[in-house]
């Protein structure tokens, strides 16, 4: 029997979570080091997975299957395709970075790191699920860590509201999608939740058109699609830094990924029929999200809305149903995940020191936090889609695909990129450069810790490397895109 690489990657964080819960409360460092140790190993394994994935054969690899409930056709069935592999890497990466930036949490660190690890298992599990039941299982597993982490460790003013809003939005979405998934299960007549079988089920067109919106929008709520996006900024802002990183960086990709895997890949006719609506809503995401980001006075809300805007590009990529668009969406998911994790970590570093996120009260931070500033600028350049950074190679194919499928969408969405440049530059100038506001005591601001530096440098380098050498990721994604195109029958 081969080494169960995927299962180990999925369950390593949960194991760490259980282990941490068993530690005595007073041993705060045990919790930290255990979380870090396990997440580093997990990241190494994810890199190994990335390297071992065979792009020549493509399709689903590292498959493991164990019967779970044969009577209903439920099995523990994991495997990854070209879309899933980069996301597994992203998930493991952000979990590790989240652990590092949370190093100085003093309030109940045992519970914090334990819940963080469970959240990690949840997202990694979704990316690897080939069984529809299992996908829901892991999807919903995230409910309690998300809620509790925001409610307990979030920013005091909005945490109760933000946590509840986020949890209920996502739960509504997933319950609606669940009913749709059950409808698919029975309509297929195959008595199986196996998604590879369901891909071949050949649902009739009426059925697909009826159920596609339930499944797609149910999951897309977590992807932040307009008009169900409002949980995202509120939730991200209320959450502690590590959770913001995971939510915006990975959880939103979980939503997008599930919408792709379950709705678009299993109901391709439905996807074609509903693509115009997705185009419309996603374009609103891109432009409206960017505009709203521009007028925010709270540093963290800027990033929160920028996520809404960028996830719109992913949805546009999906809706094109073309090679370019899907490839771009895959790259954008990874690139945005890394970028927004970096953004939120820098926001956290600034807030921890300045004790305010009000842009008007910040300024001149580059003197004290040069590396964080540099990291934020790199993230900003990615965000604007500057060539040489990963944002460019992700957004460019999306616009190419959109130009093919719906030129008007491409034209309007490009407007969003211009606005993005505006608000990013504005924030960089007002927060990091210029004159420090009188209320900000620059002298007392300390430099960032070693852990923070590791995070900033690592995430920045990944985005630059991917921007300069897109071929690090494109071959893998292409195999995934090929498979999707085969299903949706596009060019």
């Amino acid at each position: 029997m081969q080494f169960p690489l995927l299962s180990v990657i999925i369950f390593l964080p949960a194991l760490a979570g259980l282990l941490i819960l068993a530690f005595p409360e007073s041993r705060k460092n045990w919790a930290r080091w255990t979380a870090l140790g396990f997440s580093v190993v997990d990241l190494i394994l994810a890199v190994v997975l990335y390297l071992l994935y065979n792009t020549a054969t493509g399709n689903y690899q590292f498959i493991e299957r164990v019967n779970w409930l044969p009577a209903l056709g439920i099995s523990y069935y994991v495997g990854v395709d070209g879309i899933g592999v980069p996301l597994v890497l992203l998930g493991a990466l952000v979990v590790m970075c989240g652990t590092l930036v949370s190093w100085r949490i003093e309030e109940r660190p045992r519970e914090f790191f334990s819940f963080l690890m469970f959240l990690g298992t949840s997202v990694l599990g979704v990316f690897c699920s080939l069984d529809l039941f299992m996908l829901f299982f892991f999807f919903e597993l995230a409910v309690f860590p998300k809620y509790l982490m925001i409610a307990i460790w979030g920013s005091p003013k909005t945490r109760e509201y933000g946590a509840m809003k986020l949890t209920l939005y996502l739960f509504i979405g997933s319950m609606v999608a669940l009913v749709g998934a059950l409808a698919m299960y029975f309509a297929s007549g195959k008595n199986t939740f196996d998604m590879l079988e369901l891909e071949k089920a050949g649902f009739d067109t009426t059925f697909q058109r009826l159920w596609f919106p339930f499944v797609f929008f149910g999951f897309a709520v977590l992807g932040g699609i307009f008009p169900f996006h409002s949980w995202a900024p509120d939730g991200h802002v209320a959450a502690p830094t590590a959770v913001s990183m995971l939510l915006a960086g990975v959880e939103m990709k979980v939503g997008a990924f599930a919408a792709l895997r379950v709705a678009i890949m299993l109901l391709p006719d439905g996807a074609r029929a509903w693509a115009p609506l997705i185009f419309g809503l996603a374009t609103v995401n891109v432009v409206y999200g960017a505009f709203i980001a521009m007028i925010q006075t709270d540093f963290k809300y800027v990033i929160g809305f920028s996520s809404v805007s960028h996830m719109g590009l992913v949805m546009i990529g999906f809706a094109t149903l073309t090679r370019e668009g899907l490839l771009g969406a895959g790259l954008q998911m990874f690139s945005h995940g890394v970028m927004t994790a970096l953004f939120f970590s820098v926001v956290g570093m600034v807030y921890d020191r300045a004790h305010t996120r009000d842009i008007d009260k910040l300024g001149g931070l580059v003197q004290k936090l040069p590396l964080a500033t540099l990291g934020f600028i790199v993230g900003g350049l990615v965000s604007m889609g500057m060539p040489g950074f990963s944002g460019f190679i992700a957004e460019f194919p999306i616009f190419m695909g959109a130009w093919k499928a719906a030129p008007l969408v491409a034209v309007i969405a490009i407007l969003g990129v211009v606005i993005t440049a505006a608000y990013i530059l504005l924030v960089i100038r007002r927060v990091f450069f210029g004159q420090a506001s009188p209320s900000l005591d620059l002298a007392h601001i300390t430099g960032i810790s070693v852990q923070d530096k590791v995070v900033v440098v690592m995430l920045s380098l990944i985005m630059i490397a991917l921007g300069c050498f897109p071929s690090l990721m494109t071959p893998i994604l292409e195999t995934g895109v090929d498979h999707i195109l085969k299903l949706v029958g596009g060019a």
Binding site: L69, F144, I152, L168, F171, M175, F186
Partner: protein, 483 residues
């Protein structure tokens, strides 16, 4: 008919029931001997005795090839078997949670009544005759009325007992009227014989519908489904907490066991009619229970409304009327048993230590005892239907059954109301994890039997939610035996 006549082996089939009678007698006898002094032992005796009976039931009283016994009085099929295990388990756990409660100091009677009620439930699940069924229901109900009002110095408890009794008496009368209609026209009290007559069309068409309407009042009361739920919040609030736990789980399961058997056996011809009725009750229960629970300030009332809502979810499976649906309902009941008993076990401990059941008593519980808070988290999330806990699989099964039966609207009602459900469960968790501990908070008093009980419940919740294969196949066998 002759097949059901008495034969010696039939004694074995009801061995656990006989054991329950003996156990009740034994507990009362030892109570006299120990004079309430070594009262702790009575609890262990009851719990141990119930455990032995579970083992006996597994070894000797498995469902046989010829289920109809004692002249067609009882039908010891897989369904009766599974439900018996559920009731015995529920009673044993309730015993463990009650043992160290000071206010229940006349304990012998308490445990004796508990065992008698359990006996009634086992017979309810197996009854195949109207007379037997009625007797079984009353054997269950009367001890429960007394248990609900057990704390005679506590006004709320006596009110609870009286209310429960009055509601129970009225609904049981209406149900009895339904039984008499069926008997009057069919000339037999045997459920399966009545079913044959209805099938052959020798009865007036409107009669079964009228009878079903009357009978459902009695069953609806037992399962606390809307619109027969009015008693539940007051009774749950006032009754001693372990009794509330028992009422909301084992007693509800008993109600469902007869509801399912009766409707599937007697009225299969009228399925379209009663499916409409049951789905109506189900939707109303889910909506009302979940919405009203949001505003509750007392944890027992909150769990009471949640329990009404859960009855609605279980009814989804019944409304689907398929083997999958019934299996889902039974799975739901099993998972609900361990989950809700865990929740009420924790409520009992907090109530015992702090002296209050208001939600304020839970402020900062996670700082006082992280382990207890985690257990409450597991129980509440399982009630909310979140994996990896039993409640998730249970909800999924009933929703699946609804979608399969074409009741997609009901699945949507269930899915959407479960969001309200999650909201108030999370609100409790917020209080537990987020709010500061009051300065004058009293220490929590843990005892060994309580720990054992809670550990069993938590392990059960997680097992049901992760390794669900064997449990599902059991419930599915039980469900098949009813068709």
């Amino acid at each position: 008919m002759n097949a059901g006549m008495f034969q010696p082996w039939m004694i074995l089939a009801i061995l656990p029931e006989i054991g329950l009678v003996l156990l009740a007698a034994l507990v009362l006898a030892f109570d006299l001997r120990w004079h309430g002094k070594k009262a702790h032992r009575l609890g262990w005796l009851t719990a141990g005795g119930l455990l032995v009976l579970m083992a006996l039931s597994l070894i000797f009283a498995r469902p046989s090839s010829q289920p109809l016994i004692f002249g067609g009085m009882l039908r010891m099929d897989s369904s009766a078997f599974i439900f018996r295990m559920v009731f015995l388990m529920g009673a044993a756990l309730t015993t463990l949670f009650t043992m160290d409660r000071k206010s229940a100091n006349t304990r012998g009677e308490f445990f004796g009544l508990l065992i008698t009620a359990t006996l009634g439930m086992c017979l309810m699940a197996a009854s195949a005759d109207l007379v037997m069924l009625y007797l079984a229901i009353e054997t269950t109900s009367i001890p429960l009325y007394i248990l609900a009002g057990y704390l005679i110095r506590d006004q709320k408890s006596t009110e609870s007992g009286l209310k429960y009794f009055l509601y129970g008496a009225v609904t049981s009368t209406v149900m009895l009227y339904g039984f008499s209609l069926l008997f009057g026209f069919a000339g037999t009290t045997q459920i399966y014989a009545i079913a044959n007559q209805i099938k052959s069309g020798s009865l007036p068409v409107y009669l079964p519908i009228m009878a079903a309407l009357l009978i459902v009042v009695g069953f609806g009361f037992k399962v606390s489904a809307v619109p027969f739920h009015f008693w539940a919040p007051d009774v749950y609030e006032g009754a001693p907490t372990p009794v509330t736990g028992f009422l909301s789980t084992a007693s509800k399961a008993a109600g469902f066991s007869v509801l399912i058997r009766f409707f599937l056996a007697v009225f299969p011809e009228y399925a379209p009619t009663w499916i409409v009725m049951v789905s109506g009750f189900s939707a109303a229960s889910m909506i009302l229970g979940n919405v009203v629970a949001i505003t509750q300030k007392n944890i027992k009332r909150l769990l009471a409304y949640s329990s009404i809502a859960q009855a609605g979810y279980i009814l989804i499976g019944v409304a689907a009327g398929s083997t999958l649906g019934i299996a889902g309902s039974i799975f739901y009941l099993v998972s609900y048993l361990v989950t809700n008993l865990a929740a009420f076990g924790i409520v009992e401990l907090v109530g015992r230590s702090v002296g209050s059941d208001s939600l304020d008593a839970y402020n900062g519980l996670s700082r006082r005892s992280p382990a207890l808070a985690l257990a409450l988290l597991i129980a509440l999330l399982s009630l909310g239907g979140i994996p990896p806990f039993g409640g998730f699989i249970a909800k999924l099964l009933v929703f699946a059954a609804a979608v399969k039966a074409g009741l997609v609207w009901l699945a949507f009602v269930g899915a959407l109301t479960s969001i309200a459900g999650l909201y108030y469960y999370l609100n409790v968790l917020k209080i537990v994890y987020l709010y500061p501990t009051p300065k004058d908070s009293k220490p929590l008093v843990f005892t060994t039997p309580w720990r054992i009980g809670l550990a069993i419940c938590i392990v059960g919740i997680i097992l049901l939610g992760t390794v669900f294969g064997p449990w599902y196949s059991w419930t599915s066998i039980a469900s098949t035996s009813l068709f």
